[in-house]
């Protein structure tokens, strides 16, 4: 056992091994990213397949054609009259253009439901977000299954305005025509609910909340007409009048939740397989030609779009709001200019409804966690999860490394004799520690011999275990994580108009936090040193003797000098911060893989940024890292990227983009409960950034005692030192010299 122990402690203090963890951690980060890049390859993705046998996609004949189109045309007239801007000839002969009121519109839709003998009801709601009212009225009808008991239902939704704000006249008409058509069939085993909402975000949310009685009666009215458990939702989006080329399937839900893969596969199978209408994902039609969809880059783009939507976790259509309630939903959008007419769209919906009607159980067979690459290729959770886990592990590896590092200090020992004497002094110590010290000596000997070219064996550096003061770092970390809830609350409760200014002031305050903390720590040496020195003057403390302190009882000796003490404090602080970060990211990876991945990548530089007192080049590099990878800079860079990528037109400025995003975050939080981005930024990223910045700033402004350096020249000196070092390095590279100057 003793042998094992000493060999273990050998490993623990092996100089080569102690150098490895940062590289391992870097390897984890790179590995995670490379892993994602490999996913679009055929070897790492799979073809989709239908898991649930009951669905039988495309196995039925569809009959939505012929004279149904005559009825569609008539209904279109009726619907367009109340949805679109109409020309009215007034009494004096002049023409006026006006739009029907929502009440008028809903009455017309109810009349059309009634004309088919379908019971209908309306539901009004009013959300107030940041001083802005989102008001509307849903209208819906229920086709009762002829012999059904109303235990299960299928929902078909047609928003009046689609996600892009276009008028969905044909979609609503199609819904009403289908409603009439469906009510004549006697084969339904589930009720069919036909819902017309004013928009894609608030309307469906209010409706489903009220359906499950999860609504706030102050804002959302209860439903007067209900049916059974919802088994599936299909949203129809047909925002133009001409015939279309393909159907676009949107599937991202709130907080990155996804519908069962079977639903998407069924839609694809029916549309592309049975009826010959191609299906697209993630706005594929905007960047990938139909024949090039299987190319690596296009698959990667689909993957990237999917991951972005998942990470943001906001609504991407009327279907999104159903996902948090474990109801599978997709939106079918007609895109392109082609030869498919509204009846073909109707047949897809008909066949899809028939498939859902076949279901005996809830959709549960297929995947709920997947990344789609193409309409018939996907990556399952087992394949993609390791990448986020690797990134998370990178932080944990670094945290463990720093933790071990913080527990030792390098001390110079006079000679072998002295070492033994020290060991003798600490006779009461644990035997393990003695063995450890012994082992470290041997290693250090080796190390020194190697690096210093075998100079003076009498003066050796040894790794000594030292006491870790944890009170201050733990308090700081806990404080930072708890106070991160304050900016979160401030942002999500802001009024609409004040959102941008409030974020601006919040940003400046948050940037000042690490700098302020540095100065507080440096001006109060008691904070840094007091925990285990009882505030007594440093000089009077003896080295190496075990001490009883006010807060921590330890057999180990404290760090010998104040320089080590400051370094140790920063090392522990960073270790704890990275530990929490690694944990958070790993947990998040199982909830929202993409968010965890994006946060992990953005935090990667923070893993290496910190307190570098003895290497000014590293200090400068870490300063660059914390400046670049700070949430506010990244947010602004993202707005710029979005602008350059052409997501917004020219009239929208960068600030406007930021404002739109902030409004979306605030709206998503309050209406949909989309917590991903704000929690990710404020509770995961910001604390990690603050700690990294605290270290970086400290390496510039703290002197060796941990106090603020009085003279500015010293800072200049560091810069100069840095310059000379770079020069020296350049010289060394040009003329390799055997004697390497080691900096103390």
């Amino acid at each position: 056992m003793g042998l094992l122990r000493s060999s273990l402690s050998n490993i623990r203090t092996s100089p080569r091994l102690l150098k490895a963890p940062p590289y391992i951690s870097l390897l984890c980060f790179l590995g995670g990213i490379i892993w994602i890049l490999l996913l679009p390859l055929d070897e790492y993705s799979r073809r989709t397949y239908i898991s649930e046998n009951a669905l039988l996609p495309g196995q039925v004949h569809t009959y939505f054609h012929g004279t149904e189109q005559n009825i569609f045309r008539a209904y279109r007239h009726e619907v367009a009259e109340v949805l679109e801007v109409q020309e009215h000839v007034q009494q004096d002969g002049s023409k006026a253009y006006m739009k029907a009121t929502p009440q008028h519109r809903n009455q017309r839709i109810r009349d059309l439901f009634g004309n088919s003998g379908i019971k209908s009801a309306v539901q009004s709601y009013k959300y107030t977000v940041g001083g802005q009212d989102f008001e509307g009225e849903n209208v819906y009808g229920v086709v009762h299954a002829p012999r059904g008991d109303g235990t299960e239902s299928i929902v078909i939704v047609a928003p009046v305005e689609n996600f892009e704000g276009q008028l969905n006249t044909d979609g609503v008409t199609l819904l009403l025509t289908l409603a009439r058509y469906f009510s004549r069939w006697s084969l339904w085993s589930k009720d069919i609910i036909l819902l017309v909402t004013p928009d894609t975000s608030t309307g469906p949310q209010a409706w489903i909340d009220a359906y499950l009685s999860q609504h706030d009666p102050e804002m959302v009215a209860s439903l007067s007409l209900k049916s059974g458990a919802i088994q599936g939702v299909i949203c129809i989006d047909f925002p133009f009048r001409h015939s279309f080329h393909a159907l676009h399937i949107s599937y991202d839900g709130i907080n990155g939740q996804l519908p069962n893969l079977d639903l998407i596969n069924t839609a694809t199978q029916i549309s592309a397989g049975q009826l010959g209408i191609p299906t697209l994902l993630q706005s594929q039609h905007l960047y990938a030609k139909p024949e090039a969809q299987h190319h690596y880059l296009n698959r990667l783009k689909v993957l990237g779009h999917g991951m972005r939507n998942q990470a943001v976790g906001h609504s991407t259509g009327a279907h999104s709001v159903f996902m948090p309630y474990h109801i599978d939903a997709i939106t079918l959008t007609a895109v392109g200019d082609g030869r498919e007419d509204e009846m073909a769209f109707g047949r897809v919906v008909e066949s899809l409804t028939r498939s859902l009607n076949n279901l005996l159980e809830k959709l549960h067979q297929s995947f709920f966690f997947y990344l789609l690459l193409q309409n018939n290729r996907f990556v399952s959770i087992g394949t993609y999860l390791p990448s986020a886990m690797a990134v998370g592990a990178g932080f944990s590896v670094m945290a463990i490394y720093l933790w071990i590092k913080s527990g030792y200090e390098q001390r110079e020992e006079k000679d072998q004799q002295h070492t033994k004497a020290t060991e003798h002094d600490n006779g009461q110590r644990d035997r393990t520690e003695a063995a450890l010290a012994d082992a470290s000596i041997t290693n250090e000997q080796l190390f020194n011999t190697e690096s210093a070219g075998g100079i003076d064996l009498a003066r050796r550096k040894v790794w000594k275990p030292i006491d870790r003061p944890l009170v201050l770092p733990l308090t700081l970390i806990a404080g930072l994580y708890l106070t991160s809830l304050i900016p979160l609350a401030i942002l999500v409760t802001a009024q609409k108009g004040a959102l941008l200014t409030r974020t601006g002031s919040l940003c400046s305050v948050l940037i000042m936090v690490p700098i302020g903390l540095t100065f507080v720590l440096s001006n109060n040496p008691k904070l840094l040193h007091g925990t285990y020195f009882d505030g007594a003057p440093l000089e009077k403390q003896g080295n190496g003797a075990p001490r009883e302190t006010g807060l921590v009882h330890s057999d180990l000796s404290p760090p010998s000098d104040s320089k080590t003490r400051v370094l140790q404090f920063h090392t522990i602080l960073k270790s704890l911060s990275l530990l929490v970060l690694g944990l958070e990211l790993t947990v998040l990876a199982t909830l929202n893989f993409s968010l965890s991945m994006f946060l992990g990548v953005l935090c990667t530089p923070l893993c290496f940024a910190g307190f570098y007192k003895d290497s000014s080049s590293r200090a400068v590099a870490s300063l660059v890292a914390v400046v670049l990878f700070n949430p506010f800079v990244v947010a602004n860079a993202a707005t710029l990227a979005a602008k350059l990528a052409g997501y917004y037109d020219g009239s929208v400025g960068l600030t406007d983009v930021l404002r739109i995003w902030l409004e979306a975050v605030s709206f998503g939080w309050r209406v949909h409960g989309a917590y991903g981005v704000p929690v990710g930024v404020f509770c995961v990223w910001l604390p990690a950034w603050t700690v990294a910045t605290l270290g970086t700033v400290s390496s510039f402004v703290m002197d060796e005692e941990g106090k603020v350096e009085k003279r500015v020249e010293k800072v200049k000196g560091i810069a100069k030192d840095n310059l000379t070092q770079v020069k020296q390095a350049a010289q060394r590279r040009s003329s390799p010299s055997p004697a390497r100057k080691r900096k103390k």
Partner: protein, 583 residues
Amino acid sequence: MKCLVSLPEALWVLLTFVSCLSIVAATDYFERLDLTPLPLGSLLASFEFRSNESLEAYASQDFRYFPRSLGQVLQHAGTKELHLRFTTGRWDTETWGARPWDGTKEGATGVELWAWIESDTEQEAMRKWLTLNQGLSGLFCASMNFIDETRTTKPSLSFQRTGDHRNASLHLLHGVLPGKAGVASLLDGHKVFDASWQSMSVDVRPRCVSGQNCLVEIDQTIDMVLNIARAKRPREDPIPRPVQPYELICDETKPYHSQDTCYPIDALETPAWSLKDVFGRPAAGACPLAEEGGPEAKSLCLNIPHSQGVWIGAGGFEVRSPPGEAEKRCYQMIAGEPFDFDMPKTSVRTHKQIELEEELITAERTMTGHGAAKGGMRTVFTNPSATEPVNLVLFESLPWFLRPFMHTLKAQIVESEFPFEWEIIKDLYYRPAVDRRRGTQIEVVLSIPPASVVMVTYDFDKAILRYTEYPPDANRGFIVAPAVVRILDKADASGNAKAIYLRTTSLLLALPTPDFSMPYNVIILTSTVMALAFGSIFNILIRRFVAFDEVPENKIGKLVKSARLRVATLKEKITGTKADKTE
């Protein structure tokens, strides 16, 4: 057998009991069909068949008008009164008005059964009840044997005896088997049973006319709501294909009406129909068993306004209801003569519709919440009457894995035009569940103030079942039986107490469901690990380690060794000789 409207063969399971013999007293058999057109092209058809047997004959197993198979089962199980219901679908109160028979002849979706059983102890009653279920299960080809102890309750307030009993020690037992079971599913797919709603009932009860003449009465009803348009579709091709352009019924007043644009108005019209259209064949004439004269002889009635014209065939004559009564007409049929009539097309716009009776109260029960752990039950009662409060009993029989929290049981007035304070919950009878033994039984006496909407809510927990307790379709969820609502203190026209029942829809309860493939993965993984570990450990354990030279030689080894030795000696000889030679 073919008495009234000849029904398809599948119904015979039920109608075998309607024994049609030639020599019977006329009062012992009665039959009737009521047809009521409902809005939106629906038709309610209510069949009733009733027959009697004297108690003496019944006791001595001298069955004439009572089905022997059923009688023997009832006698064996000591059942004095039986009520059996098979129901599918949902009665749409909003469109169809009040329920037929005031809801007394319908049950919960699936099978519902309640009976009074004669026995001295409760245990014996339960044993007899299970026997009865088994017997009926075989008789009706329905899975009634699944009405076990966990699905059985003993209602105290919701059901009352309807027969005249002499013995006091009778036990009431009630069981529901929600879901798609029973004769209803047996009849599925048939044209007649392409109904929007249907209910079948069998009631057996003793009746004493003057305290002396006691009879055993069996009353069977079938009620169904048919969609006339659907029923008229030919049996060979029931698919509602898009009609030809000339068949479309359009609103031609619309400005956009044209060759290819049509605003349909067909849903507002009730197509023309006849008995043959709806049931597949005309009525076969009067049943020789039934009375030949009097009001009971008019076995086919049509509830339509007098103003509406009907073309009747030669096989019967019409009798209209006198003024002051509800407008209807009945037909006296002639034995052996087929009878049919033609009902012309009607439209909501042009024809007077019969006024539907309004339901005294409507009840809607839904589940609230989501997720696998908790939920809530919400029952909403609406009293449409402006003046009359309604007293009722809400009876719920919940499965044991749905655990209600009775402290959360609340009744509140949601909407009301009634300005006074009102005590809603009057009484409560509660029998808690025992895991895997019996379900929860809740009976609440409620009083709903006039012109109000009352919401009764309670929360519940969902239990986790054992792995083997899940049915094959576990992810569908579990069906919770409908609640039974009995309206109290109502009297009919003659002042007698009147029973009025209604039932809510059944609910789908999603329980936490394990991933059933997981155990197999675990089994496979464990087996692999076990195999590897066991293999190597077993190998080490049973193997005896000995030094190489300690191994005793076996025969083959010996042979090989000796062969080698010989070869070696031979070699040596040769080489030796060679060496010798070279030397």
